[in-house]
Structure formats: structure tokens, C-alpha cells
Symmetry: none
Subunit: 191 residues, 4 copies
DNA sequence: TATGAATGAGCATTCATTCAT
DNA sequence: TATGAATGAATGCTCATTCAT
């Protein structure tokens, strides 16, 4: 892991910046925005807290940059790919992918934990609606494509919430395949 | 309003306690656990902040008590009521009910905003899984009833998140009936 | 002195407040607004720095309140008192009075040391022009009474600056009577 | 403007040094010693803040050098020039001259704004007493020439303070000639 | 010679809480 | 029982400065 102190990493702006982002992701995921202090992020990297202000401007901007993720290219590749396949890819991406760099969860779920802040909610909306769901909306025929896309997104987010935020027993323990089959059935019901 | 200072509410322990809970619900919902100060809650009721510690022990306990809700009796009444009807009732209860006493949202969604705190996550799990979802699980036949109940819960929670936490455009703007029909279709696909 | 820690002064809001103001005057006079920390003021009184925020709201407000002085009643008493007498009284008040509670200088001169802050300049203008100089203006006949009053004020302030801010040798060392006679001659030249 | 970044001024030590002094004068005058950051001075010139430490040693030394001014040669030229004429020349020099390179004020008045620092007070005393006032003292006959010179200096400084630090209404607004006539009368009363 | 990464001490302010009254 | 004075730790952030490069 890049965020452990062993490597002193002296005088390397890019590496220090990256290490700060890595450390920030872990702490923000575990303790939320308010529960995380800049001092502990800096301490984890082994640098002075003032560097964070220097590199990122403010705690808010550090958070925004740490939580930013690009939509995976594979998902958006084929414009004719069926919706159920897209949804399944997103389900795997959002809920079941290995997000250990973010403390084990997709940044959308991490951000949900700090959704008391309006700026965080804004970022959530942009990354979810303008990113993931736009891909689904584009591929849906029939009435209310945006609404149906959001319902799929709601299922996705809800599954993530139950699995990794709330820790609902069945969803956390059940084999992934069984769950994906059931989720796919729900998505199919919308098309 | 019970929480305005004009009425001194002198020497009425029960009424003061209730007023503190009401005020706490509003502020916690609007600003989250960390964003809300005990001073402002106390000020809204017109009492000294030390009284909160006296009545509730700590901020955390005040939060827990303020966010506690009982599952509506109507939902649990008939053990033979079909799942899709239960789910629709819960959808209405959780997502579309008037929760103005909680600042406009169901406490489950309010708590999700402060899910950075482990105690809040615990309370969420207990209220959602042991409360709402148990009712659904009991009525489901076939394999994996708990998992399917959680998927329904995921859809519910996700809809609430998109509607009132994230503010997704279609779900926030669409007429409620159209949304409920689509959600019912997803639930039906599981049975 | 009320600002020494010996007396614990426990649980006495008014006394603690007054002691904080006393300590603030001394430190602000000696080191200016920016050079003085709230920590040292609080330490001098023997209380926690958080009390300052509680009692005065902010460092700026503490400063404003600490530097506020009322115009001495004796000066404004007789509306027919000649200007040269008023000026002499003010000279004694502003420059030669024992202002040891303010570290040895009139608050107007103390504030001049922190005149880099606009709020301080505003307070200076209000206390000098609307306070002291208005009394002089009212008693001046002939043209430009306000301008002549301000010239008298300029002499006063300038004498204070040379004496206690700059430490000009002659004015600091000369016997007070000789200086007052000369200053009175300058004032007389304006009437 | 010499202090705008467009001109890279690469590898010209003397020009960079001068540009830093120019920028420092403007900022120190506008915001005082404490209110001015080395970063903003360096940024205005377009160089790294570390250069300031390299060229001037410290912020204090940069300030001292930036605020240093020579007494105008015209004033000291004729040893038989009458005092009232010298005083008027100084009044014009100190109070009414265009000091736009210093942000619009004579450095003595600028320094008065940062007189919370002892080093600044020392510099003030040296530049005022040993510079300007020595010229006046030399030309005064009769008793206490140094004291009378300081009283003239007090009037000068006081006028500057009221005009440009405090912003006294009459002195800031009145036509310069009327003010100079009145000031000359006060000076004459001392001879 | 000069850059810019990094420092560490310092700032005012906010908070839930405690304790004497 | 309840008030409110007082606490002390922690917050994000700014600063002049230093030290490798």
C-alpha cells in the first residue's frame, strides 16, 4: 500500500500527493468526512498537515478529489448492449468490485456516509446520475427512460447500502451469483 | 410549534423532553449528526444545553432516541397479505409519507446521512432488518426469503436515497403513481 | 491588579469578564491586535481561551470593547468653556493622564498601533471625531470650525504619538507644564 | 507597472529586488505588516517566496528596507530658511505629496499602522526625529528648540493620521490651502 | 543561484461535556 | 432539580521559514 509511512518519499510532489489521496480514501471511508481529521491523514503518510492545504486547498477539495472516480470504460463501450447486461456490470462494479483502495466500498457508498454535507450530495448526484445512469437511460426504449434508469440505480445503491453500509445479513452472506440472478430479474421487469 | 421559545414550559419535564426530541429530529435531519450542535437544539427549545446531558445522557443517545420509529401497525396486521402489497405500503411509508416531523424524510434516510458513525449504522440495521424486512421475509415462499426481502428493502432504501438524499431528477419529479407501478413490477419479479 | 491569577475568581461571570477585559487592554496595548493571542490573554486571567469566545463572540469584539472609552464628563460640562481650556483638558486626558490600565497609553493611541485593520480605524474615527472633537467644534466660532477642531485633534494625537508611540526624546522627557504652555499657544493661534 | 507578473524578469537580480520592494511597499501600506504575507508579495512579482528570504533575510528586514526614505534634499538646502517655511514644506511632503509608490501615504504614516512592533517604532523614531525634526531643531532660536520641533512634528504627524489613517472628514475633504494656512499659524505661534 | 517541497509552530474558533451552585 | 460558568481537547487553516535539489 502506498499509504504506509515506511517509504519516506522525500521531495516528490506527485508521490506525496498520491499518497495523501490514498490515505484520505481509507480514512474518509471508515469514519466519514466529519469524523476524519486532516492531522491523521497527514500522519498516516508521514508528512505535515499543512501540505494538505497546500496541495488540495481545503479539506472539502481533498474529499472531492479523493472520491472522484471515472465510469469504467467497458460499460459504455457498446451502445447496443442490453440494459440488463449494463445493469449487471454496474452491479458488479459498484457492489461487488474490490474497492479496497476506498476501504472496501465504492466511493458512491462512501459518500453516502457523509451525505449530511450538501457538497457531498451534489457530487453524489453528479457521479451517479450524470455518470452511471446516463448510460442506462440512453439504452432504454419506451416511456420514462430516465425514471426507469433511476429505479435501476436505486436498486444498485440500495444493494450497496444494505451490503456494506448497513451490513444486512443475507445480502452480505449470500453467494454473489444468486443475488445477481435475482437483481437481474428485477431489472428485466422494467424493460 | 412546540419548539419555539415563547412558551417557557417551566417545570414540565415530560414536555421539555418531548420538545427536545422534536427539535433534535428537525436539526439532525437537516444537518446530520456531526453538523448539529446541542446548543442549537437547546436554544430552539429555550433551555440550557446541560439539560440534554441530564435527560438523555449524551448526544449519541439523544440521536438514537430521536431517530427511533415503530413499524406502522397497518403493515404487520394481516399475515396473509401479499408481499407486493406490503412492499407498496412500505414504499409509501418510507419514501412518500409526510415525515415533516423528521424534516421531511423517513428516519432511515436521515440516519443514512450520518452513517459514518458505527452506532448509527447499528441502529439502521436493527430498525430496517429486524423491523421492516422481517415482515416481508415472513410472507415470502420459496428459496432465500431473507435475501429476496433484502432486495426489496434495497429497492426501497435506494428509492429513498435517490429521491431525498441525492435528489435524482426523474424520481423527485415524476408522479408518484407511475413510480409505484414500476417499483411494484420489480417486486413482483421476485415472487 | 485584577488581571493577576492569584484570585481564582471561580464561577463569577462579571468578575471573569472584567478581568479578561483588563488583561486584553494590557496585551493589546503592548503588542497590538495581531501580536496578541487569545491564549495569552486567557492565561493571564487563568481561564480557558474558550471563555473569550463565549463572552465576547470574537477577538475583534473583545478588542472593540476593551478599547472603548467614554469621553470624560468634566470636559463636556460647560458649553461656554473656552476652547483653549477644553483642548488643554483633552491634552491632559489623552496624553498625560495615567492610562496604566491600558498599558500606559490612551486607547486612541493604542488603537493607532493596530490601525492596519479597517475596523480599528473605524472605531478610532468614531471615538475621536464623534467624541472628543465634536465637543471642540461646538465651541468654535468663525469659519471652518470642524477643520480647526481637527487640527487641534491632530496636535493632540500627534503629541501622543511622539510621546508614547515613537518615544520622541524631548516630548517624553520635558516637564509637562512647559509642553502644555506651548501647545496652548498653538491652539490659541486658531481662535 | 514593475510588479506585474507578465515580464518574467529572468536572471536580473537587481530588477527582481527592486520589484519586490515596490510590491512590498504597496501591500504593507494597504494591509500593514501583519496583514501582509510574503507569498502575496512574491506572487505579485512572480517569483518564489523563498527568494525574499534570500534577498532580504527576513520579513522584518524587507519591511525596514521598503519603508526607508531619505529626507528630501530641498528641505535641508538653506540653513537660514525660516522654520515656518520648512514646516510647510514638510507638511506638503509628508501629508500632501503623492506617495502612490507607498500606496498613497508617506511611509511614516504607513509605519504608524504597524507600530505594534517595536522594531517598527524604532525605525519610526529614527526616521522622524533624527531625520525631519533635526532640520527644524537646527533652525529654531530660543529655549527648548527640540521640544518645539517635536511639537511641529506632532502637528504634522497628527494631520497625517487624521487625514489618511483615521479619515477625519474635514481634513480629508477641505481644500489643501485653507488647511496649510491654519497649520502655518500654529507653527508660527511657536516662534 | 534559485526553486519549491516540506516544516512546525501558531492561529481563532467550536464542541460536548463537567461541575459548582 | 436545573442552571450556566468553565473546561480542555480538537478542529481546519495560515504563516514565515528551511532545506534538498
Amino acid at each position: 500500500m502506498a499509504e504506509t509511512p515506511p517509504a519516506p518519499r522525500r521531495r516528490d510532489r506527485a508521490a506525496t500527493r498520491a499518497a495523501l489521496l490514498d490515505a484520505a480514501r481509507i480514512r474518509f471511508a471508515a469514519q466519514g468526512f466529519d469524523g476524519t481529521g486532516l492531522r491523521e491523514i497527514a500522519a498516516q503518510v508521514g508528512v505535515d498537515p499543512a501540505l494538505i492545504a497546500r496541495y488540495f486547498g481545503s479539506k472539502r477539495q481533498l474529499y472531492a478529489e479523493a472520491m472522484h472516480v471515472e465510469i469504467p470504460v467497458g460499460v459504455a463501450a457498446d451502445p447496443h448492449r442490453p440494459v440488463v447486461s449494463i445493469a449487471d456490470a454496474l452491479l458488479h462494479d459498484v457492489v461487488y468490485q474490490d474497492w479496497s483502495a476506498f476501504g472496501g466500498e465504492h466511493p458512491l457508498l462512501v459518500m453516502l456516509r457523509s451525505a449530511g454535507h450538501e457538497a457531498v450530495r451534489d457530487q453524489l448526484r453528479i457521479q451517479l446520475c450524470d455518470g452511471y445512469l446516463a448510460e442506462i437511460t440512453d439504452r432504454l426504449d419506451g416511456p420514462d427512460p430516465a425514471l426507469r434508469a433511476e429505479l435501476i440505480g436505486a436498486l444498485l445503491i440500495g444493494m450497496g447500502v444494505l451490503r456494506s453500509v448497513i451490513g444486512a445479513p443475507a445480502m452480505s452472506g449470500a453467494p454473489i451469483d444468486r443475488t445477481r440472478v435475482l437483481a437481474a430479474r428485477m431489472v428485466d421487469a422494467l424493460t
